[in-house]
């Protein structure tokens, strides 16, 4: 899904929710996943002016979950470790977006190159 303007955020959230409901994710985990997604999409819009988001359902033996992939071609993040710290922000926000999103999901992976863009991948299992 392409995310280019603010109004795209709501349909994207709904889409994520649809998938989460489909695999039977609990309400709390749904909410956590969507909130994390919302943070990341906002970052994408704010710092990179948009990008693409990919939703996929993953499963191993008895657990299933949802993986979201966010890709942008923005300015990238200079110091990823610093960006992951609570309360750090280059913009005027609380600095909770990235670290908060990481706390809300089971797996969090971020790759960024200054000048080339940022790829964030998150995974939330159905249970836990």
């Amino acid at each position: 899904m392409k995310i280019e303007k603010e109004q795209d955020v709501i349909p994207f959230r709904n889409r994520v929710k649809e998938y989460a409901v489909k695999i039977g994710m609990s309400l709390v985990n749904q909410t956590k996943l969507i909130t994390a997604a919302s943070e990341l999409v906002r970052n994408m819009l704010k710092y990179a002016g948009g990008g693409t988001a990919l939703i996929e359902v993953v499963s191993d033996n008895r657990n299933s979950g949802i993986r979201l992939l966010f890709e942008d071609r923005g300015p990238g993040i200079k110091d990823v470790d610093l960006a992951m710290k609570d309360g750090y922000s280059t913009g005027k926000s609380l600095g909770l977006g990235l670290p908060g999103a990481r706390r809300l999901v089971n797996e969090f992976d971020i790759k960024s190159k200054p000048g080339e863009g940022t790829i964030v991948s998150i995974l939330k299992w159905k249970n836990g």
Binding site: E6, T31, S38, L94, G100
Partner: protein, 132 residues
């Protein structure tokens, strides 16, 4: 819809957020509400977020901002009706909504506001809340 309606009830302002907000709508709400507090000299703001399925850091910040801004204009803010899943998520996110009071539902929120302001309720009260 570009704006969230703000209702006036006596000395209080009542906002019910019925849809998921995108950022601009939330920012609009913030400024509208502060304008309204100024214009109506309201002493309390009650924000009902029971229909919100998501409160992320941005929305949390808006709520916090409203609380702090209202505070320096001598009005109390109560956020009511937060969904359990939303509360858990906010905690994990690390947001505590400092500066706003919280209540379970509109009725309890109204009671809280009245308590805080320390005044008798107005006659123009909503029927449901006249159990005082």
């Amino acid at each position: 819809m570009d704006r969230i309606p703000i209702l006036r009830m006596g000395k209080f302002l009542l906002v019910t957020i019925q849809i998921d907000l995108y950022d601009r709508l939330a920012t609009n709400l913030e400024s509208d509400l502060i304008q309204a507090v100024n214009k109506t000299e309201a002493r309390g703001v009650l924000i009902d977020i029971s229909a919100l399925s998501i409160v992320d850091s941005f929305m949390g910040r808006i709520l916090g901002n409203i609380g702090s801004m209202a505070k320096i204009m001598d009005a109390e803010t109560v956020v009511v009706g937060m969904q359990p899943a939303v509360a858990i998520t906010l905690i994990e996110l690390g947001l505590e909504l400092k500066g706003v009071h919280t209540a379970l539902n509109v009725e309890k929120g109204m009671d809280l506001l009245k308590d805080r302001i320390g005044e008798e309720p107005e006659e123009t009260e909503d029927d449901e809340n006249s159990t005082e």
